[in-house]
């Protein structure tokens, strides 16, 4: 069942991505409306995928790389839809949609069987740690896209040749503010995820910190975002500079996420 939902979700996200691309190209409001309906529909199927997977495994479905990617994609879309209600950054969908699609396509190439968790790792810290971590990552992903949008819009305005996406992208100030906001939410979540991870590690293996790849990379990412936030707060980093840094930080985050999962085969290599 979950597999059917998974493929429907992927297909609907593909449609949404195409619609968003068409919107960026033709800039007709109707296309944007349909694209939003598409991504919301995709999200509904995505939720069903996660739910059925959860029921099948009996725990938060994040123990395999396949599940992790599906979950990350889901939480990013969820966050985007929430953001849409309050701040209406509609064009952001044009970035979130292909991102979610890409994660799902990657996930579809990976083994789908449910990985059993060794009893020693079985703990209520698992969902807490994982949800905090992915929620934080999702905020950073949105910050990344908002940063990219800022860089594009900045380039249009600097070049003084206005065309294409200039007409549909929000104002620089809006993009900068939203980017900042996402960082402000993402950072405490990442911090909390590292702490809960440490607690879980102590609980399962008797040690808070073991300098494993995963832990080192989280720390590096944490420092990057800490520096960025610090710079924004005290040195008045903003705009293009802040956008570039949030992009770099996110690439480091996503890079470490993939590298570690590929190296370890999922869940930070705790499973074997």
């Amino acid at each position: 069942m979950s597999e059917i939902f998974f493929y429907i979700t992927t297909a609907v996200y593909l449609v949404a991505t195409l619609l968003y691309s068409a919107y960026l190209f033709a800039r007709k409001d109707r296309l944007l409306t349909i694209a939003q309906v598409a991504i919301s529909t995709g999200f509904a199927f995505h939720t069903a995928t996660i739910a059925s997977r959860w029921l099948a495994s009996g725990r938060t479905p994040v123990t395999s790389f396949h599940d992790s990617l599906t979950f990350f994609s889901w939480i990013t879309v969820a966050l985007f839809l929430l953001l849409l209600i309050k701040y209406k950054p509609k064009v952001l969908g044009a970035f979130v949609s292909p991102f979610a699609l890409l994660l799902l396509i990657t996930a579809s190439l990976l083994p789908k069987q449910i990985v059993p968790l060794s009893p020693v790792l079985e703990s209520y810290w698992l969902p807490v740690h994982v949800i905090l971590a992915f929620l934080g990552n999702a905020f950073f992903a949105l910050a990344f896209f908002l940063g990219i949008m800022y860089i594009i819009q900045d380039r249009y305005l600097k070049s003084r040749k206005l065309k294409g996406m200039y007409f549909v992208l929000p104002s620089l100030e809006t993009l900068d503010e939203l980017n900042y906001k996402c960082l402000q939410y993402g950072f405490p979540l990442l911090t909390a995820a590292i702490i809960t991870g440490a607690i879980w590690s102590e609980y399962a293996m008797g040690s808070y910190w073991e300098w494993k790849h995963r832990q080192v990379w989280s720390l590096i990412t944490w420092f990057l975002y800490a520096a960025l936030l610090h710079g924004r707060l005290t040195a008045g980093w903003r705009g293009r500079k802040a956008a570039i840094l949030s992009a770099v930080a996110f690439l480091s985050l996503i890079g470490s996420f993939f590298i570690i999962n590929i190296l370890s085969g999922g869940a930070h290599g705790l499973l074997r």
Partner: protein, 435 residues
């Protein structure tokens, strides 16, 4: 309905011809009355702007009417028709309705989607009403045209993008700052264009406007109309750190705002974005400033480019607007063809039937012994009489209502039978035709 438009515009004729054909609004009543009194047109409207001159008329014979308008234009302005004819376009019937809708919506304008034309069309209609050359059809047609223009404006973004330099500046400011509320603006030099841009910025929420001018008195004079602050010209660099938008328009031959200066200012204002608008020639702001992070500099040529880009973007909206117009023409036709005739026929039938029923009841009361069958025969007979009498009038009414005299017929029938058509019935008929 025989509707015809004859006219010329910026696309079909050079300015030399257009200015010869124009009708000054102060004396437009005279040519309007001439059209209906001397040229055999039933209703007439003249639209005369700097980009177009058009005569819209209702006529009993479409070809003759067209020729009459051409003749009128030639006679009135004493230009031989042969010379004029090549510049004139003719739109008839449905095509004319479409043309009027497009003009009113700004789709036929030189600057696509510009809003002034709607006001001019409204005025032209107003003159026709004043001169008694607007009748039932013109009334309906123009009200529909205003409605269509409004729909185009609300459903497409055709009127949205800025197409003048000062509007373009405001739009750019919005793309940089989002909301302009609470932003500060400084005019360095008090030129007319700078003033215009500042006014637009202020009406978009800009809080404070400072004016620095070499002649301090002139700055003081200018700030009176903005409720702004006048500052000494040599002091203006000190205020830059609190200013988000700078508009330079001095006559200085050199750059008066330099990158070194702005580097410091940016540090002081913690790199909050600044928008520089340089509308002076030669330029007053060093173009290098555009390379500083979070600084955006546009000179007159750049703004002109923005205007062109905005216009280009508008073109896309036009397609959608054209669909709206086609949709509205269909509605209009269905509406105008039957709005009057349907409720009139219903009212006519109801009135006659009411008389019949009342008289039948009276007659039956004096013959209490009639059998049910006999009663039915009487009922059927009276019905038949009424229907047969009404048959020809109704058929003719339906047929004629599509023609120009249709309104006359409808009006006559209503008067002869003293039909009152309540608004409810009209609305109902209009709605059923609108959908």
């Amino acid at each position: 309905m025989n509707l015809v438009i004859v006219g010329l515009n910026h696309k079909t004729s050079p300015i030399e011809i257009r200015e010869k054909l124009s009708f000054p609004s102060a004396t437009i009543g005279e040519p309007l009355s001439k059209l209906t009194s001397h040229y055999g047109l039933t209703e007439a409207v003249i639209l005369s702007t700097c980009n177009r001159v058009e005569v819209l008329a209702i006529t009993s014979d479409i070809e003759k009417g067209t020729w009459q308008i051409k003749k009128f234009l030639s006679d009135y302005h004493s230009i031989p028709l042969e010379k004029l004819d090549e510049h004139l376009y003719v739109h008839q019937a449905e095509d004319a309705v479409k043309h009027l809708f497009r003009v009113a919506a700004g789709l036929d304008s030189m600057v696509m989607g510009e809003p002034q034309i709607l006001g001019q069309v409204k005025d032209s209609y107003g003159y026709a009403v004043q001169s008694n050359t607007a009748g039932i059809i013109v009334n309906k047609l123009y009200h529909k045209a205003f409605q269509v223009a409004k729909r185009v404006r609300t459903e497409t973004k055709i009127g949205e993008s800025a197409v003048s330099i000062s509007f373009a500046a405001v739009e750019l400011a919005r793309k940089i700052f989002g909301n302009l509320t609470g932003k500060n603006c400084m005019l360095v030099g008090a030129g007319e264009m700078a003033e215009l841009a500042a006014r637009h910025l202020q009406s978009n929420g800009v809080r404070e406007i400072m004016v620095a001018n070499r002649t301090y008195e002139k700055a003081v004079e200018l700030v009176k109309c903005f409720c702004g602050t006048a500052i000494m010209f040599r002091e203006f660099p000190h205020y830059l750190k609190n200013v988000d938008i700078v508009i330079a328009s001095t006559a200085s031959p050199n750059f008066i705002i330099k990158p070194e200066q702005i580097h410091d200012v940016m540090k002081e204002r913690r790199h909050k974005p600044m928008f520089f608008i340089d509308i002076s020639v030669p330029r007053n702001i060093d173009p290098e400033i555009n390379n500083i992070d979070n600084c955006y500099l546009y000179d007159v040529d750049d703004l002109q480019g923005v205007v062109v880009a905005n216009l280009h973007e508008r073109q896309k909206e036009a397609e959608q607007a054209e669909t709206i117009i086609i949709d509205e023409i269909e509605k209009f036709y269905r509406w105008i063809k039957s709005l009057d005739v349907v409720p009139t026929i219903i009212a006519l039938r109801q009135t006659c039937d009411a008389v019949r029923k009342a008289e039948l009841a009276k007659a039956l009361a004096s013959f209490p012994n009639l059998t049910e069958k006999e009663q039915k025969v009487l009922d059927a007979m009276t019905s038949a009489i009424v229907n047969k009498i009404l048959h020809h009038p109704v058929t003719h009414l339906k047929k004629e209502s599509n023609k120009i005299e249709g309104d006359l017929y409808i009006d006559t029938i209503r008067k002869l039978f003293d039909l009152t058509i309540d608004d409810e019935a009209v609305k109902k008929a209009a709605q059923s035709n609108d959908d």
